[in-house]
């Protein structure tokens, strides 16, 4: 069976920076229904990796190599072809839910927009579906909250709106870039639960980017370790925790162990 997502020899450079390489020879694949974590420090290239999966790299960056999603090449695809896939078959959620939302638009309309962009013509039906999805991702009192503007919601509520947007059309793959690092821990736990439920109930695949090994260990069966733009480790989560191979991974695992088990 071909993997859902397959990345081969991906390299990303700054377009005009002489020799500034962000990602170097990254290869991995992700199967249908699998949850894979990408562990890395800030500056390791993990957000660039997440963006490249969707063909969302800014024009200042140049990508080489290949990214295949559901058999189609993403990097060389036309903008129209990428748009047809994005939001429908593959979605992304970011860390900062406030900057990702339009401040002047009711949240229900922003979620519904995803359906309208992908062929739904009935605005009312799109909004109904939006409210339903907001309920499913645990937005309390979704029907009333739907009519609000982003600034009227808390950070956790806004992140649920983004999740509803990303999950509305039941994508095969969700890419989550530090989706909970700006949230309170109790809200983080709820959001992780929503992701896990989506993954289990629908067989959705998940590519979760984080610096927090604890968060990745809760959700992912396999973890890729990105260090200074290179993939230095790719191992089942259990194996990574028990016998981390790369010095960077060993340092992270030791730090987490020490933080969890005070002297």
């Amino acid at each position: 069976m071909t993997p859902l997502l397959s990345v081969e020899a991906l390299r990303v450079d700054v377009a005009r920076g002489a020799g500034v390489r962000i990602l170097e020879d990254v290869s991995f694949s992700l199967s249908s229904g699998e949850a894979v974590g990408v562990l890395g420090a800030s500056g390791s290239g993990k957000t660039t990796l997440a963006l490249a999966m969707l063909g969302l790299l800014p024009p200042t960056l140049v990508a080489r190599g290949s990214v295949h999603f559901e058999g189609h090449e993403v990097l060389s695809a036309s903008r129209g072809a990428r748009r047809a896939v994005r939001g429908r078959r593959c979605s992304i959620v970011f860390q900062e839910p406030l900057t990702a939302l339009n401040p002047r638009m009711r949240v229900v309309d922003q979620v519904a927009e995803v359906a309208l962009a992908h062929g739904e013509r009935d605005g009312r039906r799109a909004r109904d579906a939006a409210v339903q999805m907001m309920e499913r991702v645990g937005l309390a009192n979704a029907a009333a909250q739907a009519a609000r503007l982003p600034h009227e919601l808390s950070g956790g509520e806004r992140q649920r709106v983004l999740l509803a947007m990303a999950l509305l059309l039941e994508p095969a793959l969700l890419i989550a870039d530090e989706p909970t690092s700006a949230l309170d821990v109790t809200v983080q736990a709820q959001v992780l639960q929503v992701l896990r439920a989506q993954q289990r109930e629908r067989g959705m695949s998940l590519l979760m980017v984080s610096h927090d090994l604890g968060v990745l260990a809760v959700l992912c069966s396999r973890v890729l370790v990105l260090h200074e733009g290179r993939l230095v480790e790719d191992a089942p989560t259990r194996q990574l925790l028990e016998t981390p191979a790369h010095p960077f991974t060993r340092a992270i695992v030791a730090a987490v162990r020490r933080m969890e088990r005070p002297a």
Partner: protein, 256 residues
């Protein structure tokens, strides 16, 4: 021995169009010399308002704040300046708290000059030593904040706070924005500095996991009140308040 910091029935209320909000509601706490009291709660629980009220950075509605026996809210002029030297703060976001146009050496030196703590030559030397103490190098003094990583910038903010030889630091989410590995390193640095200088910390965080290693005691805040305050190991072993239990349950624990 009297505690370094004593709060009694502290209230911080904000007035807005929606009415009066009690950000801090009748809080009484002591912080002993040399200890780390962690103040933990979710966003909006009042922990940052409490930290700022202690430093007189926001007005207090009622109650008392005593620092080393004297009434902080009654301090004027010279006495207030002396208090501001002894009690320093490190904020969450070093991008916002470090002036991007200033060189690191000037950022760290500023407090020494304001409080006239050393001659210019001595100040120079003190800045160099401080930078080394927080894990940077003396030559970093001539660089600008943007040339440093997030963790390094937080080290600069710590050096700046220490420049005036304080006894007490409010660490307001000081490691929350940092990567796990960098966070562990800065926590180690804070523990080392505390041991070497006999510092007292009020360590504010939204995440209990962060304070487990560094805190002597933990106070949990919810809706402006302290709902539980206990020695760290005890609080982790047998949390009493439902809020504490929820915060503990929410920590993504690795099943080793």
């Amino acid at each position: 021995m009297t505690p370094l910091l004593e709060l009694r029935d502290l209230v911080v209320a904000y007035r807005s169009a929606a009415g009066v909000t009690h950000a801090v509601d009748q809080v009484s706490l002591d912080v002993a010399r040399g200890e780390t009291l962690a103040l933990v709660g979710e966003s909006g629980s009042g922990k940052t308002s409490l930290g700022r009220a202690v430093l007189r950075l926001v007005p207090t509605t009622s109650g008392t704040v005593r620092f080393d026996g004297s009434d902080v809210l009654a301090l004027r002029e010279d006495a207030l300046r002396a208090f501001r030297r002894r009690a320093q703060v490190v904020f969450q976001d070093p991008n916002a708290s470090l002036d991007p146009r200033m060189r690191v050496g000037d950022i760290v030196r500023e407090g020494i000059e304001i409080h006239a703590l050393a001659s210019p030559e001595q100040a120079e030397l003190r800045v160099a030593r401080l930078l080394e103490e927080v894990g940077l190098t003396p030559s970093d003094a001539s660089r600008h904040p943007h040339e440093f990583s997030g963790g390094e910038r937080q080290r600069i903010a710590i050096a700046r706070a220490l420049a005036v030889e304080p006894e007490f630091l409010v660490l307001d989410e000081a490691v929350s924005a940092l990567d796990l590995l960098v966070r562990a390193q800065v926590l180690d640095l804070l523990a080392r500095l505390q041991a070497a200088r006999g510092l007292t910390y009020l360590f504010i965080a939204h995440d209990l996991a962060v304070v487990e290693r560094i805190a002597t005691r933990v106070a949990v805040m919810h809706q402006g009140r302290v709902v539980e305050c206990a020695p760290t190991a005890e609080l982790f072993r047998a949390p009493q308040a439902p809020v504490t239990q929820a915060l503990l349950a929410a920590i993504p624990r690795i099943d080793w």
